[in-house]
């Protein structure tokens, strides 16, 4: 998930621009097809907000390559977070499962940034209450490291070494009017 709003004094530089993001998503689409024997039984579930857009784009690419649609949905993990008590109650995102559900499917979770792994942990718990997939895989546009749980991504757009003080910000056309991944460094004042 995207990080908090950048600090006013942060210096930003683009790690990925629009075409880079597109290339990364095309590559991930191919990898998903390879790893799932042509995308059979695959369901893409995006984690709101930007994961949902990414999942839809991946589904678009896959349909282009294979000529058949892949079910896409969204999975809100708010109610499963382990840090709910750190902030006032958050508004819920949408959970929309494809009409055939997720039982015995290969669910590919899609998120924009993979960081501590806590979001993915919450997503796995949420999935557990929704059904019983045959397998769960994880796709992330950016993996910035610093895992706090034994979780890894199956598909990564870009591995981005960062320090914890840095902020990774993902912009997507659908949400933000442009495609970019920015790395923001806090000014040391």
């Amino acid at each position: 998930m995207a990080e908090a709003i950048p600090h006013a004094h942060a210096q930003a530089h683009a790690v990925l621009e629009g075409p880079d993001i597109n290339r990364a998503l095309i590559r991930i689409s191919h990898e998903i097809l390879e790893r799932t024997k042509g995308g059979e039984n695959v369901v893409l579930l995006g984690i709101p907000t930007r994961g949902v857009h990414l999942a839809r784009r991946l589904a678009g690419h896959i349909r282009q390559f294979e000529g058949r649609p892949v079910p896409v949905g969204s999975l809100d993990i708010t109610m499963y977070r382990d840090d709910l008590r750190t902030k006032p109650a958050r508004p819920l995102g949408r959970t929309e499962l494809p009409s055939d559900g997720i039982d015995d499917r290969t669910v590919v979770l899609v998120d924009d940034v993979l960081y501590s792994g806590r979001t993915v942990r919450a997503a796995l718990d949420a999935l557990n209450d929704l059904g019983r997939p045959r397998a769960v895989q994880l796709a992330a546009l950016v993996d910035r490291g610093h895992r706090e749980l034994p979780i890894r991504a199956d598909y990564v757009g870009k591995n981005l070494p960062t320090s914890k003080s840095e902020i990774v910000k993902v912009y997507l056309e659908e949400n933000d009017g442009r495609d970019a991944v920015l790395l923001l460094k806090e000014d040391s004042e």
Partner: protein
Amino acid sequence: MKRHLISAADLSRDDALLILDTAEELAKISDRSIKKLPTLRGRTVVNLFFEDSTRTRISFEAAAKRLSADVINFSAKGSSVSKGESLKDTALTLEAMGADGVVIRHSASGAPYRLAGWVRGSVVNAGDGTHEHPTQALLDAYTMRRRLGSLEGRRVTIVGDVLHSRVARSNVLLLSTLGAEVTLVAPPTLLPVSVASWPCEVSYDLDTVLPKSDVVMMLRVQRERMNAAFFPTEREYSRRYGLDRERFARLKDDAVVMHPGPMNRGMEIAAEVADSPRSTIVEQVANGVTTRMAVLYLLLGGADLGGGDQ
């Protein structure tokens, strides 16, 4: 959102929409095989019921349990309260148990405000005397929204004993916050003398109001009101203010009929009307659970606000 939900007036338009939107998402939970979320694990919700209301208590209990909260039911009957323990002492007991949320139902108007002064947890008003019942108004608004879409500009008619109705008070406040146009219809004896200062219209004549109503909400009429000369006879009340088949036939085609229950069939509402597809009475019960889940989540699901709004 404020820390407590005691009056519908505590809710801004944004707060109210947030609760309704949250309820909309949570409604999907009841379609799943696992109807439970881990969100309030480790939190304690006390249902403090000084007045019998199995329906409301069960609704709150189901809502809290679906969010994995620990639920303690405390009813006044057979407890120390019936032996004369004061509300304050009861509040201090709850405080010692570490209640994060207290859902209170009380026959005295304003009791939740007093309770909120004595406990640290969030207080949710589940009906206080003849004052308010804000979660009922929320579930009513939720039900209307599901049937009609946005409530902006919709005409809602509330019929019956407004004077003694906590449901009417909360509904008038919430619906006007949400942009609906509310009309109260009742015999003048069952309206507060100051009703003109409320954000709604008032009429004594049901038949002129019905044809333009999008929603007709019938309030329960307590039979004991008749003995206090609020109206002459049940028959006369029913004839002038009851929703019978003839009146029902004059409603707009897409108008809905609501009742907070329990109903007096044949008195304020005819049985055929209550059971018609345009009646939302059964839906209202189901919607009660999801709406109350939304309220409990938004009040208890985040950081402890510790009285930040006070």
